[in-house]
Structures are given as structure tokens and as C-alpha cells.
Subunit: 349 residues, 2 copies
């Protein structure tokens, strides 16, 4: 089973952005009392936005299942306050749930969280519980910088985050560490802020004892891990210099996706990161749209790069393309078992 | 000729840090009037700090020349104000000059600049001119984030920087884009802030028309270009999506060093970045000290990785190890010609 662990609803119906526009307007003009428009969307609209986009591409590329979350750049946790973030997050996650209900074989839900700068991530627990227990979601996205470009909240390894991590462990859901938009003119969002967030998170993990405190907490670092695999020697050396345990000790907890959009990058990733720690992903209709004139295929057709790696053992390819996702997202396995798409627990995919 | 374009005086005599401590103390306790201790260092002290360190390693590894600048983490432009930065920078650069005078065959000077958050980089011009014209330096380091971790100054491509760039062009000196320490607990300095700075700068260049305004301005992005070569496909795709010119159009202006501390990373760099745009560097006694137990050699012995790339054409290896540095640092060529170490201008190295 081929599982893409990184997809966003980048094509969501207009009503969602109209709600957001209403929210922003209310923040700017608190006296102008426009009624809350909600997010009124028909099933057909959802089908339209997916059939012609994510679901079509999924079928064309032979992907069985996508872990589907709200648009990352849209999370924009810096906007308004915790209440703003909460209302927005609820709508975004509800729409993911509806998409998943319409395409239960193609999609599984991953939620955004109502983070807000300076606010304890404990405030995200009710929404996480709702998404996982009521809506059947299998993971969440955590924004390591809710300020969206100024990084003034504490590192992911600070106790500030512990209440949320405790609940993640309890629910047995992993988080993808994914920044959102950038308000900082220094950082282009998909060209700098995303990759910087990935790189930053990994180094925070090296520096801390987070996984001693939470031995079963799991993070996926997207976009191939930012700069990390390319600088694997640097990180091994830094850990060694700092008297930290070797990188291998992070490998029960930290995973990398394959959103790297050229052949040499994918090969490096597969060469340096342990095979159990790489999860297939493409982030389609995402950061990098369009066809690479050098190959004639879409930049984001990462399955093609993986399949082109001649020296990859078949069992490693299978792990990367799906087996690892089933291990890391343990609720996904239960979900597939309940759907009768996987044999009952304990057996291999 | 083998030229390492990225070395810092990380082993500078204690008197330098004592001066800095005095400066910091004066900032904290402006009423306590300790006399300015200056930086009193003998030639022998300088020899001691280098003979046992950078010069020894240079000889052991068969490197002919290192472009030598003050410690990057020590620039700490956020400390105090522009006057603080100016006094500190002058001492740091003077010490580089003395080291170069003692080892004129082994070292060539690259200066730090008296940047300060919120202050126009025009204030760096006198020190740049002094270092280049009076002290014979061949390049400078520019900190893209003088706040040291909060990124509240304008991007490198903003007109804010233009007076400095104009002078760089006039003097014909390139700049290495190098962040300094990090005051932000989110960013480990060598494990996140350095690489993020590299990645960020490259994306700024993609987004802007800086090199239309300054066609001969040259930047070296250190640490193998941060995340950039690993994500070369992403950047090609982003440029294409954004209607920006292809990456090749940046290649007269943007160069990458080889401070990547493992074999697969160096191979990726050599595979994706055009051969004229890669400059040998190792940053010895720098971010990553120590021996890699997997190879038995120092992590930062990057010449070894380059030499181990079997498929690299000899003429490309020669460019990477020295020829490109001579082209990018044009004042270095003149300097070597004046020393009689290179035939007079126009001829190949």
C-alpha cells in the first residue's frame, strides 16, 4: 500500500477563504458587525475540488492513500488571538473531515491545531482530542513558530509544549512539524521559512532530552528534513562535539518525508537516513507546482524519483512507500484494519 | 593552488576576548570606568595560536592558502550599538591583518563589518575601504541578520543594503553571507542559524532583481549553501512558478562553498551546482571539530571528500579547489601575482 503522508487541502472551496476574510475583517474593524458567514459548502463542491486535483493525481500516480490536512500556509497562527485561531482551525479541520468522509479510501485526516503566539499549546488539546477521537484523524501538524516568522515562542523542546505532547502520546498520534506562512520579509514561506523550520526543529531535538521525557512521541520533519540529510555529517559531528547521544538515538522519534523535488536530493536522503525513518510524501498541488523541463514530469512526482533509485532494496522501497507510515501513524493501521484493507493487527502490510 | 575560502580566527589570543568582555561590561555598567584595555598581543602569541592550529592543519592537508576572517560567531552584531560594533570590528580585523602579515603565503584577509541592527549598512563602508585598500583584504563577511536570531532588519535584497553593495562593486570584493551567534533559543547557532541564514539568502536572491542592479556583485553562500543544493529541484520549481528567471541567471553572482561534512553531501553538491560555482572550503577549527568514527578522519577534512569523488573531472576538481576562488576573489589573484606566486594577469592558474 502506497501512502503519501503529506497532503494539504490547497484547493478547498471558496467558502473557507471567505470565512477567513470575514474573520480578518472583523479583527480590523471590530465595530462593523457582519454576521458570521460560517463555511457553507456542499458535498459536490468538495468532490469537485478534489476529483479534479488531489484525487486525480493520486490515481494517475498510483498512490493509495494520502494523509490530508488543512493548507499549511493558511494556518497563519499569528492572526488575531487564540479564539480567532480556534474558530478558524475548527472550520479547516471540519472540512478535512468531510473530504475524508467522501473519500474514505483515498484520504485520512491530519489536523491543524489552534496555536497562538504566547499561548500555551495546552489550548490545542480539546481540538486534538475532538479530531482524533470524534473525527478519526490519525495525526496533527504542529507549527514550531506560531508567530509566523519571528520565532519568539519557546523551542519545541521547552516544557511549554509538554501538555500537548503528553496528550499526543496518550492518543498515540504523531505530529508533522510544519511552519505556516511568513510575515517576515526575510523569509519566503515555501523557499525559506518551511525549510528553516525543519532544520531548526531537528537541531532542537539534538540539543534536548525531549525523548527521554516522551519515549514514544513521534515527529515527522517534512520537506525531506530541510537541510538535515544534506548536512548529516555536520549533525553527527555537532552531537559528538556537544556530548549529546548519536543521531541514531533520535530515530525512534524523528522521521523525514520525501518532499524533495529532484533525483539527486532523493538519492541523498535514501543514502544517509536510516530506511525505517523515511516516509513517502509529495505535497501535491503544494509548494512546487508545474513540470520540470529537465524531466518532463512534475517536480512533485516524488514516487518517480524513488522508483528510479536502482540500488534501493525492494523491502526498503516498500517501507518508504507505505510500511513506515503504517508504523509511525499507528491509528492509520487500525483505521485500515477496520476498513478491511489490512489484515488484523500484528501482521505486516 | 589549493585555496580554502572559509577560515575564521577561532583561536585568537585571549586579549581579544578580554577586550570584548570589557566592552560588554561597559555596556552593562556604564558608570564603572575601567580603562579600555585595547588588544595587546605579541607576534609570538599570534604565531602560537596559528602554528599549532590552522597553519598546522593547512600543512597537513596540503592546502596552500586560506581566506581568513574573524570568528563568525564572535561578530555578534546585536551587542551594543554601531559604535560598539565599530570598535570591536576594528580590533578583530586588525588581528586578522597581523596574522596575514606573519603568514602572507598561507593567509589572505577577509573582514568582518561593523553592522548593527537598524543601522544603515552604509556605516560599514569606511571599515570595508580601510580593510581592502589599506590592509589588502580580498573580501568581507556580511551578516544577513544583525539582530542575531530575530531577523527584523530588511532582506539582503532591500535598498537598505545598496550603499554597501555599491562600494563592494567599486572595490571588486565579494561577500560571504554568514550569520553570527544566535540570541534566539529556537536557533542553535551552528546547527540551525548558520544553515537557515544560507537558505534564506539564496531565496532572497531568487525573489529579487538585485543582480540586475549590481551585475558584478558576488556572494559566497557558505556551509554548502545551507539547504539549497539538496533542494535544487524545489528552487528551480519555485523560480519557474513565480515567473522568476531560472537559477542559471544567478550563477554569475552566487557561489557555494564546500563546508559539508560527509561524502554524500559533497557528492550532491558537486552533482547539482554548476562547477564554476563551487569553492573549496573547510572552516577548520570551526563548527564541527573532531574525528568522524565512521571514516577515522576529521569531519571538516572536506578536501578528502572532494578527492574521493571518482567521477569528478580533473579540470572541475582544479576549479573547485582553487581556480574558482581566484576568479571570484579577483583581488586575491592580484595579490598572488604581486607575490610572484601566479603568472601575471590573464593567464590561467
Amino acid at each position: 500500500m502506497i501512502i503519501d503522508c503529506h497532503g494539504h487541502y490547497t484547493t478547498a472551496p471558496k467558502a473557507l477563504s471567505q470565512f477567513r476574510a470575514w474573520q480578518m475583517d472583523r479583527l480590523k474593524n471590530p465595530d462593523r458587525l457582519q454576521p458570521d458567514p460560517g463555511v457553507a459548502v456542499s458535498d459536490d463542491e468538495i468532490r469537485d475540488t478534489l476529483e479534479n486535483n488531489q484525487i486525480r493525481i493520486q490515481r494517475e500516480r498510483g498512490v493509495d492513500l494520502t494523509l490530508f490536512s488543512p493548507r499549511a500556509g493558511g494556518m497563519a497562527h499569528h492572526v488575531g488571538d487564540a479564539k480567532t485561531s480556534e474558530a478558524w482551525t475548527r472550520h479547516c479541520n471540519d472540512l478535512i473531515h468531510r473530504a475524508v468522509m467522501l473519500y474514505p479510501d483515498n484520504l485520512a485526516g491530519v489536523c491543524q491545531l489552534p496555536q497562538s503566539p504566547g499561548v500555551s499549546p495546552a489550548n490545542c488539546i480539546p481540538e486534538l482530542v475532538r479530531c482524533v477521537e470524534e473525527l478519526g484523524f490519525v495525526g496533527c501538524n504542529i507549527n514550531p513558530d506560531p508567530t509566523d516568522g519571528y520565532w519568539t515562542d519557546p523551542p519545541l523542546t521547552h516544557r511549554h509544549w509538554y501538555p500537548l505532547f503528553k496528550k499526543m502520546v496518550e492518543l498515540d498520534v504523531p505530529a508533522m512539524v510544519h511552519t505556516s506562512c511568513s510575515c517576515n520579509p526575510n523569509f519566503h514561506f515555501t523557499g525559506a521559512h518551511y525549510l528553516n523550520g525543519d532544520t531548526t526543529a531537528f537541531m532542537q531535538f539534538i540539543e534536548s532530552d525531549l525523548f527521554r521525557d516522551f519515549p514514544t512521541l513521534k515527529f515527522i520533519i517534512p520537506h525531506g528534513g530541510g537541510a538535515v540529510p544534506y548536512h548529516w555529517g555536520r549533525y553527527r559531528g555537532l552531537a559528538q562535539n556537544m556530548g549529546r547521544p548519536p543521531l541514531e538515538t533520535l530515530m525512534n522519534n524523528v522521521f523525514f518525508d520525501t518532499c524533495v523535488y529532484h533525483q539527486p536530493g532523493i538519492e541523498l536522503l535514501l543514502r544517509v537516513v536510516p530506511p525505517d525513518n523515511i516516509l513517502f510524501a509529495s505535497e501535491i498541488i503544494g509548494a512546487v507546482k508545474g513540470v520540470d523541463p529537465q524531466t518532463g514530469f512534475n517536480y512533485d512526482d516524488t514516487k518517480r524519483y524513488i522508483n528510479a533509485v536502482q540500488w534501493l532494496e525492494p523491502e526498503v522501497r516498500e517501507k518508504v512507500l507505505g510500511g513506515n507510515a503504517l508504523r509511525v501513524y499507528s491509528r492509520l493501521r487500525s483505521r485500515l484494519e477496520a476498513q478491511g484493507r489490512l489484515p488484523a493487527s500484528g501482521e505486516s502490510s
